[in-house]
């Protein structure tokens, strides 16, 4: 299959507009969170980490991981390579966001809880999610045949989605200390309106960043596969 022309293969000369907008939005949100959002009365400045921590957590759990699971399931059904690339990109960008969650969490925890790490249900779940995505990435790196790699990783992606509720349930039964979600609870959120606005803006900015990373990563995967196709033809 030679769908690839030379222009397709050339790296895009134009700067990635979506990535630019996303980065600008993230900077804007930082400025707002820093200078134009009140400091929380009890937690002080440490509370400001919520804007990145909770946003990244939402995106990693509810966007990246769900996308990985759905793309994996659809791949086994439709056998479309594009879906495999979506799963691959979602996993890798999701790994970055989960890493951000795991780094920002302890920074806040040291100030508020007095400990970098506790074996609380949410922390433990996130840590295991991180391990799962990490082993997913290692599996991808360990299989050379492209079709086989796609099938194996799709199987792991689906099983991981089935595993997460079990991990969550069992670590929850173990014990929990983490503050309950304060944004999505049905009663009035326990946050001032300015903080809520800042958080929603941060969430949007980081979602945009996620989309931009995802698209960039997807392009890398597409180009890599095209190069592999061309090399195979040349050989």
């Amino acid at each position: 299959m030679t769908h690839a022309s030379a222009t397709d293969l050339a790296p895009p000369r134009r700067p990635d507009a979506l990535l630019g907008i996303a980065l600008a939005a993230v900077v804007g949100v930082y400025v707002r969170a820093w200078a134009f959002t009140p400091i929380e009365a009890r937690q002080g400045a440490a509370q400001k980490i919520l804007y990145i921590h909770a946003s990244a957590a939402f995106i990693a759990l509810y966007l990246a991981f769900v996308l990985l699971a759905i793309a994996s399931a659809l791949y086994l059904w439709l056998k479309d390579e594009k879906l495999d690339r979506v799963a691959e990109s979602a996993a890798e960008v999701g790994l970055v966001f989960t890493t951000v969650v795991l780094i920002t969490g302890p920074l806040w925890g040291k100030t508020i809880w007095g400990a970098w790490w506790t074996w609380d249900a949410r922390l433990t779940s996130t840590l295991f999610l991180w391990f799962i995505i990490l082993s997913y990435s290692m599996l991808r790196g360990a299989v050379e045949d492209r079709a086989r790699r796609a099938r194996y990783s799709a199987v792991l992606g689906i099983l991981a989605a089935l595993l997460v509720p079990f991990i969550h349930l069992s670590v929850y039964m173990f014990r929990t200390l983490h503050p309950m979600p304060i944004l999505l609870k049905p009663s009035t959120p326990s946050m001032s309106p300015e903080m809520r606005t800042t958080f929603l803006l941060a969430f949007l900015a980081f979602t945009l960043l996620f989309a931009a990373f995802l698209r960039a990563r997807y392009r890398v995967a597409t180009l890599r596969d095209l190069v592999a196709d061309l090399e195979q033809e040349a050989a």
């Binding site: 599996l139 099983l159 595993l163 079990f166 991990i167 069992s170």
Partner: protein, 231 residues
């Protein structure tokens, strides 16, 4: 059961399991190494804690299940590793049996394998850690069986995948261990309550997790297995 036709899924699964167990019975390499590994682990763990500060019976459940999953990995590795030589897997795939029955047969053989390891490790833990297990033996065996089913369901599938990768034996633990987390937690928590002489009702919430895990992953892995084979 039909006569004179291709075997049903369960019959074929039993044949595959019998084949794997016959190989294991004649060589005994994996079973013996898993067994020695488990017994060594149980004894080494005892010296990793200050026995005057922590009662041995408090350590026992954790030791048992951690050692158990590592010993089981040794057996799981061999499950599809043994099919690599002379591409034996091709013969299996060419046989008039369904993919699902190959998986179920492999899983069944692995279940026998890990239950065999447990049958020695469990009494060893009871002996070395001075557990007063007069009433809980039956319940503990039940927990062990539930834990073994879930472990084998996931491990057999990952064994089929791991042998075809560049990292082979290194990848299997990395893929499997996150999946063993709920198993270890539920098995350790429920057996800790039993070993402490608490009523079985206290272990019930954890047992429900084990049962649910077994059902979900036996079904999911059986369905997923055909995707791990090269056509």
């Amino acid at each position: 059961m039909r006569e004179g036709t291709a075997p049903s899924t369960m019959q074929a699964a039993l044949l595959v399991a019998k084949k794997d167990l016959a190989i294991e019975f004649r060589t005994r390499t994996a079973f013996l190494s898993a067994l020695v590994f488990a017994l060594l682990g149980v004894t080494i763990f005892y010296f990793a804690w200050d026995s005057t500060a922590v009662a041995a019976s408090d350590l026992a459940p954790g030791v048992l299940w951690v050692i158990f999953i590592f010993a089981a990995l040794l057996g799981l590795q061999r499950s599809f590793g043994s099919e690599l030589a002379d591409r034996a897997i091709d013969g299996l795939l060419g046989a008039p049996v369904s993919r699902e029955s190959i998986y179920l047969g492999k899983a069944l053989a692995n279940l026998v394998f890990v239950c065999g390891v447990l049958a020695v490790t469990l009494p060893a833990v009871v002996l070395f850690y001075n557990l007063p297990l007069d009433r809980g033996v039956l319940a503990l065996s039940g927990i062990a069986l539930l834990a073994a089913i879930g472990l084998v369901a996931v491990g057999t599938l990952f064994s089929a995948m791991a042998v075809n990768t560049r990292m082979a034996e290194l990848l299997l633990p990395m893929l499997s261990l996150p999946f063993f987390v709920p198993i270890v937690m539920a098995a350790a928590q429920s057996s800790a309550r039993l070993m402490a002489g608490r009523p079985i009702a206290e272990a019930w919430p954890w047992l429900r997790i084990l049962v649910a895990f077994d059902i979900v992953f036996v079904v999911a892995c059986t369905l997923a297995f055909p995707f791990t084979l090269d056509e």
